[in-house]
Symmetry: D3
Subunit: 333 residues, 6 copies
């Protein structure tokens, strides 16, 4: 099995796509997972202008790059979240509007429906993204949570996302939630509950990213095995724990990369993620989509890191066996 290796462009949105594509082609990537911000992929434009998506595709093809998925995390986040100033800084003025929370959530939902339409135009079948969460802020139960309210949060998520997924399914595109703290699903329990709430529908699944599991002490391979058929896409991203008794695993309200944090994101292969087991698990469930590097490492030059990460994935990814063990062994002529 030879899986394409792509780069998620979200952390490179300061570069025009033309320039980034040139660099990635030079490093040897097979393709890009386009972020729906910067100038990389403009959902609104794609819906407005029927030639836009084809133009982006052509740009990539000029560099010999493919595209199997796009990522629209920022808008998706606003669909279920309590809205505050942080959302304003990452949303377009059109979606933010007057900032009234329910209005923002509604416009974000519309934009996610458009994302499905734009993806179809671009010819990709997977959109990666976030859902937001009505209950994330109740993570630690103090003042004591009303746990019925937590359960209602899963329902709210299902109600807000159901109509969006209807559009996805109509367009033949699948939404892959990146399981992640701050989202409706971030671990085993919450993923089970979120999937239960929205139902087992073909248009809703998971983007698996191990970097969000490592600092939670969750096992990536076990997760992949449990949710196998629902894993629509995979990120390659790493994280590392620094637990010396003085740094909290909760992060200390410190920015990523600041000394004193109990964990941080690092370039793939430089952290604690067990990619060997992850690849074996992806092989077991028959995943054949891209391995998409989401490159974040506040301590490393990204120009050094991106090709280093690509080389790491090339030597770590391998094809599963197609014959049973010892089928050849143990036959006396």
């Amino acid at each position: 099995m030879t899986r394409p290796v792509t780069l998620f462009t979200g952390q490179w949105a300061d570069l025009p796509l033309e320039e980034l594509a040139g660099r990635c082609a030079g490093w040897g990537f097979d393709g890009l997972e386009l972020a729906c911000w910067g100038d990389h992929f403009d959902v609104a434009e794609a819906v407005r202008d029927s030639g836009y998506a084809a133009g982006r595709r052509a740009l990539l093809e000029r560099h010999g790059l493919g595209c199997w998925a796009i990522g629209n995390h920022l808008v998706g986040q606003a669909v279920c979240d309590p809205i505050d100033e942080r959302h304003k800084s990452v949303l377009s003025p059109e979606i933010w509007g007057d900032g009234d929370p329910e209005g923002v959530r509604g416009r974000a939902a519309e934009a996610m429906m458009d994302t499905a339409r734009a993806a179809a135009q671009l010819g990709v079948t997977v959109v990666i993204g976030f859902t937001g969460s009505p209950t994330w802020h109740m993570l630690y139960s103090f003042p004591p949570n009303d746990f019925d309210e937590i359960e209602r949060g899963y329902q709210e998520f299902a109600e807000r996302w159901g109509p969006i997924i209807d559009v996805f399914e109509a367009e033949g595109v699948r939404f892959a939630l990146e399981v992640h703290p701050t989202e409706i699903a971030y671990d085993f329990v919450t993923t089970r509950k979120a999937l239960d709430a929205i139902g087992d529908r073909p248009g809703f699944g998971i983007n698996f990213d191990p970097s969000h599991f490592e600092h939670q002490f969750l096992d990536s391979a076990t997760f992949i095995t449990e949710f196998g058929g629902k894993i629509f896409h995979a990120h390659i991203k790493d994280s590392v724990k620094h637990l010396d008794g003085r740094s909290s695993i909760l992060g200390g309200h410190l920015q990523f990369g600041e000394p004193g944090r109990g964990w941080d994101f690092v370039s793939p292969g430089h952290g604690d993620v067990d990619f060997e087991s992850m690849i074996r698990a992806l092989n077991r469930i028959g995943y054949s989509g891209p391995l998409s590097i989401e490159w974040e490492d506040s301590g490393m030059d990204r120009e050094w890191g991106a090709p280093d990460a690509l080389a790491f994935v090339r030597r770590t990814d391998f094809a599963p066996s197609e014959v049973a063990f010892d089928a050849a062994f143990g036959k006396e002529a």
Copy 2:
């Protein structure tokens, strides 16, 4: 050094104080850390009725119990928090009022000033409590935090609590923040910043409780050593981690005690806290106040647990050496 062992009454607020005092005396406790809820200690009443506090003291003395501190966590929490329904369920109607957040915060601040006054009447010099936090809900930086806003949160805390501490100092009482997730200070970094913000004043310090450090992978003894002089009171409470690759250290939005959580509170001596090192550290800083058992264990009968916890503390607490090492060794006659 013989330190009194007390029970914090907050988890026993369903029992009238008279009944609880009888049981605790029977188990052999030296005293109680009275919670400012249930009928245990009513701050408003103490301020209103000049005989109330003496009555409570007399009740305890009838059972041979002392009192060195009271705890008012619930009201303190409302001083800096964004206010939501969860606060309503733990505040008195007087403090909740119409629920307007700024109004709630103001009335809570007044009530904390009254707590200092009531403590003085009762003859105790330490009030344990929570501060709330303007920034706790921004724990995970997504959507990306404006980190200046985090810094402003420490300032807001200082502004809201400064006037309260003025009253404490005027009454000769000290406020001991229980360093705890959801509070302005919950680890090393945030404690340093909170203390910096409010300044080094005699009326503001720490109630150290190791159960909130264990699941953050923080070392209790190192904390005690660093913040030595600021530690005004100590809780004895334990917690345990269940990290099997499927349970998140973040808790999965599950109630304490539900299977599937990555950590939980347990009766002292039944979890992961290294009390030996904690006692040695308390000895080193010369702490001579109470060791106050805050008993929470969702899997154990509290009637079994409380005397078990007391016995545990009695055999774990020891006095420091008063002579230099080997002072006696190595003298040939």
Copy 3:
């Protein structure tokens, strides 16, 4: 919840029951789990002589001891095993007969039916025992196993034990297989398969003994949680690993207690078993039967060990909570 603590008498079969009962009563045990060998409990005699069982019960009662279960491991082992000389040395001449394997297996099956009848006469509702295994000897797949043969082994077990369990159910007695290497079920996978094979019937369940899980690196609490309703009885027994790079976890074909083994049985509390988690798990599933000490420690005087083990269980076993967590906390008056 107050669970009785009993001693399994199998390792004390050199002592007459009268004498053993006296000692156990002196040490403070609540009762005995009688072994069906030595003079402790004679199944054949109980079936033959309608007064025998009552006599044994009376003997125990004279010492103030109860009896909630009996154990007949040795005969059960012969029901499914390939038969060899080792069985001869632990079976009665009547059951061994001429030693023809199928004949031995058949007579052992009859004797297990009698065990149910005898248990009913004694007034106990649980029989602990082994099943033997048609496939244990194929543990390591070399020469390569035919794995269909393994699956047929579970069927053979079900066929041999089905009729025995019919008698158990008719007598109102339950058979509790001690999950254990050499038996049809010894870990999670094999327990699932064995239960699947015999079906979910009221007369067949599990005697949980953590000492057989520790050296397999299996988690006792997780097992109890998974198989909750099927756990009919529990042993308290400990084991310890000695993994220094020179001692195999497989045991080196060395006798228990010989230096050089990678693991060994030890007196409860002297080994690696996490009894705290085991008790919590038993509490969660609502187990209220005996905690039966099976005392084996080749390096300790059993007269020293038995009361030490009893004291260990008394201080380790505790009742679960009957109220929800924090039900009392967090109520402002």
Copy 4:
């Protein structure tokens, strides 16, 4: 020291030797360890036809490949084992005959003598293989073992293999037992006893394979150091443990590669074996024979794996120092 790297052909017996040799030469192997099954190396034919061995050698040389050892595990296994259907499926009809156990064992012993003769014809001085074991099935002592019978098992091994080794020594060939579960020697203790039983003779030694040690928690380097002079050959093979509390180290009677096993074989460098320490130990004892990759990984395409394994060995194997430490350091001119 530059050691040749070979591939053991046993797991590739479905491919004709001509084809396999071509692939291996292309990958860059130095030679092959020929399996005595498939069409790779036919012992009976070599004894019958005096030109056969030279023909095999010529085939290898056409591809630029050497051969320093051959492997005949399957026949050797039958020399000491209790015989069952599993042996039938891996033995030739000539050796199996009517399947009478003692007859099978005798014919297997003859075939091993022929293996020595065939090896001499091929010009190799080492035969790798298994011995079988009269006592492996008594691994767990229940029903309780008669440990005298275990000791007699080592004697039986010595009696059965002594005459075979006579032929080896007469032919100038050495037999290297692959220390392995199911064999007379599988850990430190059993290797000591097996060597004691057969005596310190030049024709009997060890093929060291670390993959069989890892899941037993045995240290490879310590073993190599202890048995130094007796190590005639070395396999490069890896294994990995998956101990999550639900998977038994004993394997659960599951096929290699099935999810749920506590350990599994994997391609070299993808598992837990500490090859660095193994190479240092081989250097210390002066081992200069081949490093022979026995490639088994049920989760990896073997065409991907074999060259990956070769590259791993090339970068892991290094020559020892020929000068004393710091001989150059510390000389002031």
Copy 5:
């Protein structure tokens, strides 16, 4: 086996023996290991005055205390050491004399011979002590050691101690070197070499103290097993490691008990020593002498610690089994 528990009096030399004996008797000790300093046991006086030893014995007996060994560490240290000011502060003026190193060593050797004579008078058969070391100061080989000089150090030790041991053997007393950093033997390798150098003579053996092994990462039980017959006496003393990445295992030239050290001595049961395994190993070698508590804990009041340590030993020490495992199990009537 019931072993006496004694207290080594070296760390209590500031108290007159009469007073210390009274306290120890009150705490329940079985006896004392008298230090040859303070007023506890005066070797010179015992040699001079034939009634002195009997007087000390009588004093102990008045308190119901026994004595099985005496300890003379300080003088023994001077026999092989390079002599410096540190020795002056722990030696009597008679032994120090003019401080000329060879003279000091000679007088110390004479004093150790007298110690044997005094022990005989007191009726004890074991003297605990140190040997000093000609090579300890060459612990880290920089500037590079001449390793021949290290070997000569063992010879020098043997030459200096041989004549002393002659006197011990003549008196029927055994010298037990406390294996310890700064002595000729402090780990496995050096103990083997020291014993090789002095030869296997009945008068020279080991006082085993696990606190000196823990910070070296040495396994106490393995040591006891290897040197079994040479272990003449055992200390019960504990130590703890504090390895947080900032504290060196070498100790940082800090006094015991100072914060920042990587390890420290603590009261038995409060540190890292695995006493369970130590007791089992002592049982295996048949050691029946005293368990002598050497109490040192710079962070604990010794009056609290001594009875705590005694209680710890009483509940940790147990008798070995006198019957073979499962001798009683597995006998069908």
Copy 6:
């Protein structure tokens, strides 16, 4: 940031510089850290002959090699040490003279001043070296240390090295003490005290070498972070621990490379050092000097090891990020 990779020539002093330079250039090194012994760099000659240094520089340049530092460990060691035969074997006859300790120390101090002068002539600004230590031999406090004497040792160091550093500063050269056992500074505590003693002067700092920290259980990255500005130079050297319960972390007075040691030096990347964290820490403090491989591995051929080590450093060293984390992420167009 692209840092030069150099080889420290001290362990290659048996080779003429011309030959060594040729090999290193062939392997791809950027330069050499010249040892001041062998024929590599002769301090006395450089002071004597004004053209010598330029000649050495020219030799290097012919091979395309740079030089940023020289190392003079052996002479520096003699400045503060108690002097014994070991120093004689590593010092020149001129410095040793009659061997009178104070004389040796004085001549060594003069030679270190000359080293600064010679370095200036060569055009390098850093000299690596040792200081020796007046107190190293008092590492373990028995006989009990007078800790005032330890403190005086730091003063003595400062007094002996102050005048040397005066010359360094006058020459515009910095002395970088290799923090190392046997030196005045070998861990966090001693480094703090040594720097306090000599004062914060520009001419005295640290050569950081992680191989000396690993066996002390010290964290390299934490050290670099604490002493950031004082780190003038960095060695790349590795070490490995072998702690199997029988090998002491103290080394057993065994030569490096002898079996039985608890730790040993190994080629970079073959041991326990966490170079990833070390590089990140060096990036954080802005260190831009050479990464100088000090190659010592008693079990590896140095010709194999040196290029292996260089390749390891090339793939491990990376440049830090020059933009803030997520600066590009999170901008909706």
